[in-house]
């Protein structure tokens, strides 16, 4: 479904993402993890079309989306959320989701119906007429997901959706992610919270200092020597 090939992205002399390739199959939940500064967010932004790569290609459903720009990528059915919620501050939750739905229909009333549906899915129906700035962090993150879902994507990119949430909130969000997958959604998560990811991801890709150091099922990946040393330092690697 999504294929990243030999992507390199530099900022001046710094190579943030260095020759990374990865794939996400249809219906799969893949988590992209790594310590701070590993290049996760940069890679995410390259995939979402915010940053063009210096080298390499990104393709979605068999067609190249390299450097296409986030608006057109969204129209192709690849949606995203933001790590720090980027909401339409003057709008209510319903209006925010309506903006997403308008990319599939010109009719305001139809878009509003779609918006109400996706708010139901993420569990925000009771707050739909509240200004989005009054929502809790968890609410804002779920509204981000609702707005992305309203564009009717086939795949969704989630940028650290669990960051800043407490345990019950994390569990609700994991339930939501599983539910989305049951409905046929393909999901790529960028995550810091390894424990949460273990429970939901089919596969984990680990980045460290811009390079891919592991790719495989969660339990296997997390026992790999290079992954443990990247996160905890060499002292913790079991002999």
């Amino acid at each position: 479904m999504l294929e990243v090939q030999n992507v390199e992205r530099r900022f001046g002399g710094l190579i943030a993402v260095n020759d990374v390739s990865m794939k996400v199959a249809e219906g799969e939940i893949v988590a992209l993890i790594g310590p701070n500064g590993a290049g996760k967010t940069t890679l995410f932004n390259v995939i979402a079309g915010v940053l063009p790569p210096n080298r390499g290609t990104v393709s979605y459903q068999g067609r190249s989306i390299t450097g296409l720009g986030s608006a057109r990528i969204s129209h192709l059915g690849l949606a995203r959320t933001f790590q720090i919620p980027q909401l339409f501050t003057s709008m209510t939750a319903l209006e925010t989701a309506t903006i997403g739905a308008l990319s599939r229909t010109r009719s305001i009333s139809e878009a509003r119906e779609i918006a109400a549906q996706v708010l139901e899915v993420v569990g925000l129906s009771d707050r739909q007429h509240d200004r989005c700035t009054t929502l809790t962090i968890s609410g804002k993150k779920r509204l981000e997901i609702a707005r992305a879902l309203a564009t009717r994507p086939k795949m969704i990119l989630l940028d650290e959706v669990m960051a800043g949430l407490n345990l019950p909130e994390v569990h609700r969000l994991l339930d939501l992610i599983r539910k989305l997958r049951e409905d046929g959604m393909t999901i790529l998560l960028v995550e810091h919270n390894i424990e949460a990811v273990l429970n939901v991801a089919d596969r984990i890709v680990v980045l460290d200092q811009g390079q891919k150091i592991a790719d495989g099922p969660p339990r296997e990946v997390l026992t790999e020597k290079r992954v443990v040393s990247a996160y905890l330092g060499d002292d913790y690697v079991l002999a």
């Binding site: 608006a71 969204s74 010109r106 009333s109 878009a111 200004r131």
Partner: protein
């Protein structure tokens, strides 16, 4: 712009009815030329401020260069009418085409800028148009000021009765308000609010920023140009120092902010407050020395903005917070 007519609220009909009544009925109810003149100016500026609001309010692109389109509108019709006898109605269309062309060309550099930088670039645009006019005036032998001969007639867009101008202004106000209204009820209007609130998020849900900003800019520039033509036909005399004066841009922004930026009625209310206030202060404080009324006018404006940071419409919204599903937790 496709609209969902089923979405009309009953309140919208009430608002449209009141506006129609004001635009058509108020000129009929007035006899005094002073008030009819004032009414024309209020209508004209209400329309101009609404046009500014399309770009500055809904799209959040704070332009201070609208003087350029106003002046182009005034000059296009006046030059064509006084030197070639072309009807100002046709001149108005020529002005609109020129303004749209300028807006389209200038959009490429200015839409790369955000916030204050956008405002500064638009000021530069306005000044450039004025300076180019002053420079080319000498080359083609155009007089500094141009007087329009007083030959009343609908085709000449000149009226012997001030009431005719009041209606003309009223029609202009209705036109711009209707366009603003249709905008807010269409996808374009929703998208403009979205990109004003957050450009990154707007792009992420597939909004083509340039396309929608440009739509707002073109509509805004074209309508401002129409207003320029109307003003020239009313004053019957134009010169660069007045029709290309940057205070026009500032006044439009001021009225809109005062009434309520990004709302349909805000610009109308703003124009209806500031222009009469200025006139009456001039009348009352005239004996106290030149400029005394401006000092008091400025103090009153500062007071209003401090008390009502969201304009008069913001106050009205606060007075009925539970209506229209606008619940703020």
């Amino acid at each position: 712009m496709k609209c969902t007519w089923l979405d009309w609220h009953r309140l919208d009909f009430v608002g449209a009815g009141i506006l129609l009544l004001i635009a058509v009925g108020l000129p009929l109810a007035m006899e005094d030329r002073f008030f009819l003149n004032l009414l024309f100016l209020v209508f004209l500026y209400a329309g101009l401020a609404s046009a500014w609001n399309l770009l500055g309010g809904y799209a959040g692109q704070f332009s201070l260069g609208h003087t350029a389109f106003f002046g182009i509108g005034a000059y296009s019709s006046t030059i064509l009418y006084t030197f070639s006898g072309v009807s100002p109605w046709l001149g108005l269309c020529v002005g609109v085409v020129l303004s749209l062309t300028l807006a389209f060309l200038i959009s490429y550099p200015v839409f790369r800028l955000r916030g204050v930088f956008f405002a500064m670039a638009t000021i530069a645009m306005g000044e450039t148009v004025r300076i180019v006019l002053l420079w080319s005036r000498e080359k083609v032998g155009l007089p500094y000021g141009i007087s329009i001969n007083f030959e009343p007639g609908f085709l000449n867009m000149i009226f012997s009765n001030t009431r005719g101008y009041a209606w003309l202004g009223g029609a202009f106000m209705l036109l711009t308000t209707a366009i603003c209204y249709l905008m807010t009820r269409s996808r374009a209007g929703f998208y403009l609010k979205a990109l004003r609130d957050n450009e990154d998020a707007a792009q992420a849900v597939g909004i083509d920023l340039r396309r929608y900003k440009l739509t707002a800019f073109l509509l805004s520039a074209g309508l401002t140009s129409v207003g320029g033509t109307l003003m020239a036909q009313y004053v019957l005399y134009i010169e660069p120092a007045t029709v290309f004066n940057i205070t026009i841009s500032i006044d439009l922004a001021l009225m809109t902010i005062l009434g309520g930026i990004g709302t349909i009625f805000g610009p109308l209310i703003g124009a209806a407050i500031t222009l009469p206030l200025q006139e009456f202060l001039k009348d009352w404080l005239g004996p106290f020395g030149a400029g005394a009324h401006l000092v008091v006018y400025a103090l009153i404006l500062i007071g209003i903005v401090m008390l009502l940071p969201e304009g008069v419409m913001g106050l009205l919204r606060k007075l009925r917070p539970e209506s229209r599903g606008q619940r703020h937790a």
